[in-house]
């Protein structure tokens, strides 16, 4: 494994990301929606004070839960599948590079590009808040940034798992959207529904919830901004009850495991498919 090769390929992936209309669309949407939310915070602080701020903070969590996983899953899912379909992956692998180097560069390139988009969105929003309202509420954005980055990268790894197996872009994108829907539904309605119908024990409810990176983010984010406890949901309440002060650390660990473990599984699957 040559770090120089990985760096060269990563640099190329970053340039490719800027040419990718999907990425550009997600980045613009994310930045605009973040700034829009910031404006809402500014306006609501004038009229309704801290209670309005709490509502907007919840809005930010929902925005991240909606857009960041969609971005991570769809861009990750396209990464290898599109190149495989176009023949560009086979061409690159005929060069003096290894699949591990190509794969790492894809992961790092997309991770850096998406992290930059998220960070720019949060930074511009924070600047807007500081400029127009003297900084009230800016801490929400700053506190949520690390968790948002972790969520984005977790879903990128899951997207890469899809991409490692799919031969066509359209298949990969379809699977990514289905996965996104499943993660969103399992995260809220699914677990709650199952706990009522099947009578899940609190421990099973907790594990079933937090292995979903979206739910891990949601619980972690609510705890971070110390929003209303109702926002925690059943799994969050169980987590706070069972794990206590370590909850955020455990949830962070869950997302890190998704990032590293998911990327590793994706690499193994890609290796099996490419070298068959």
């Amino acid at each position: 494994m040559s770090l120089r090769t990985v760096a060269t390929l990563t640099q190329q992936e970053l340039l490719d990301a800027l040419r990718n209309k999907w990425f550009v669309a997600y980045a613009i949407a994310f930045v605009l929606l973040c700034v829009g939310l910031a404006m809402m915070i500014i306006n609501s602080a004038g009229y309704t004070g801290i209670s309005g701020f709490g509502r907007t903070a919840a809005g930010l969590i929902n925005l991240v839960l909606f857009l960041a996983p969609l971005m991570g899953l769809t861009l990750g899912a396209q990464a290898l599948a599109t190149e495989r379909e176009q023949g560009t992956l086979a061409y690159m692998l005929a060069q003096p590079v290894s699949l591990a180097e190509v794969f790492m560069a894809k992961f790092f390139g997309l991770a850096i590009a998406m992290s930059a988009a998220v960070s720019i969105g949060f930074s511009l929003s924070s600047l807007a808040i500081i400029y127009w309202s003297g900084g009230t509420g800016v801490d929400v954005f700053l506190r949520l940034l690390p968790l948002t980055l972790l969520l984005t990268l977790s879903t990128l790894s899951i997207g890469l798992i899809i991409s490692a197996q799919a031969s066509k872009t359209v298949t990969a994108l379809g699977l990514a959207v289905v996965t996104w829907l499943l993660l969103v539904l399992i995260g809220s309605l699914g677990i709650m529904g199952m706990s009522i119908v099947v009578g899940l024990s609190p421990t099973v409810l907790l594990i079933g919830s937090v292995i979903n990176p979206l739910e891990a983010f949601r619980i972690g984010a609510v705890l971070q901004i110390r929003g209303s406890l109702e926002l925690l949901g059943p799994a969050g309440l169980v987590a706070r009850d069972r794990i206590g002060d370590m909850t955020t650390a455990v949830l962070t660990l869950v997302m890190i495991v998704w990032i590293i473990g998911g990327a590793f599984v994706a690499y193994l699957l890609a290796r099996r498919k490419e070298f068959q």
């Binding site: 090769t5 040419r19 023949g87 692998l93 005929a94 060069q95 290894s98």
Partner: protein, 292 residues
Amino acid sequence: MTDTAVQQLIQFRNVTKQFGSLRALDSLSFDVRTGESVALWGSNGAGKTTLIRCLLGVTRFDGDVLVEGLSSKRRGKDVRQRIGYVPQLMPYFDLPVGEMVLLITRLRGATPREGLELLEQFSLAETRRNPVRSLSGGMRQKLALTLALLGNPALLVLDEPTANLDANTQKELLGMLNDLKRDGRTILFTSHRWSEVRALADSVVHLEKGRILERGSVSDLAPERDHVSIRFEMDSELIGRAESALRTAGFIPFTTESHITVAVQDRAKMDVFAVLRAEDIGPRNFDMEVDA
């Protein structure tokens, strides 16, 4: 690296590749010497591209392929450093030509100057800002050849390099490849067309269904493969007799009002004249075109 390894630039050793129940390559063994131009010739599905993938170390297989003594299975990256690869069709990359050249330059450890010189040499310098996908098929193949030569690799591997090109571009690309061959570059290429093999190869490995049917020099195999079309001009009343006589002798003539054309293997061309002479048919004129 041993002397043998240098002399035998590539050594295929019992290369076997299985896709499920299909044996795509069946224990293939042969060598390619330094400076030699070798054609892997065979019909579609013969195993040519699969063998190239084994050589590049981008697929699992049994046996081994050694390039300058290095195993493509264990030292794939080092082997690929020694190979300039031209695919059947250069893929549709979104990035501009200049960026593509720079990327491959870095990966192959070449200098940007070398990349620019090659772009100039292959008349691609003006396309530097154009996306690769916007180039014509011929231009993309020239770009693929440019990229393959970056870092001055010992071996050039081409997979059906002119299969998707028009006749003029085929001729141009084959001319470039012949120049490289004259410079002493080792070339291994696949083709299903004898004309291409004839134009570029020193020796031929004839593959069918994953096995080597025959191996030899182009001049050894040419009499079996080269075809000539002989077109006779004769009086219209002789055409019918000539057609009948040639058919009886096993040829398949094509007739018009004043001409009769027969395509035959090069070595059998005199037989056609013999048949006509035996029937006392004298053509007014004839011309001959070598299909190869």
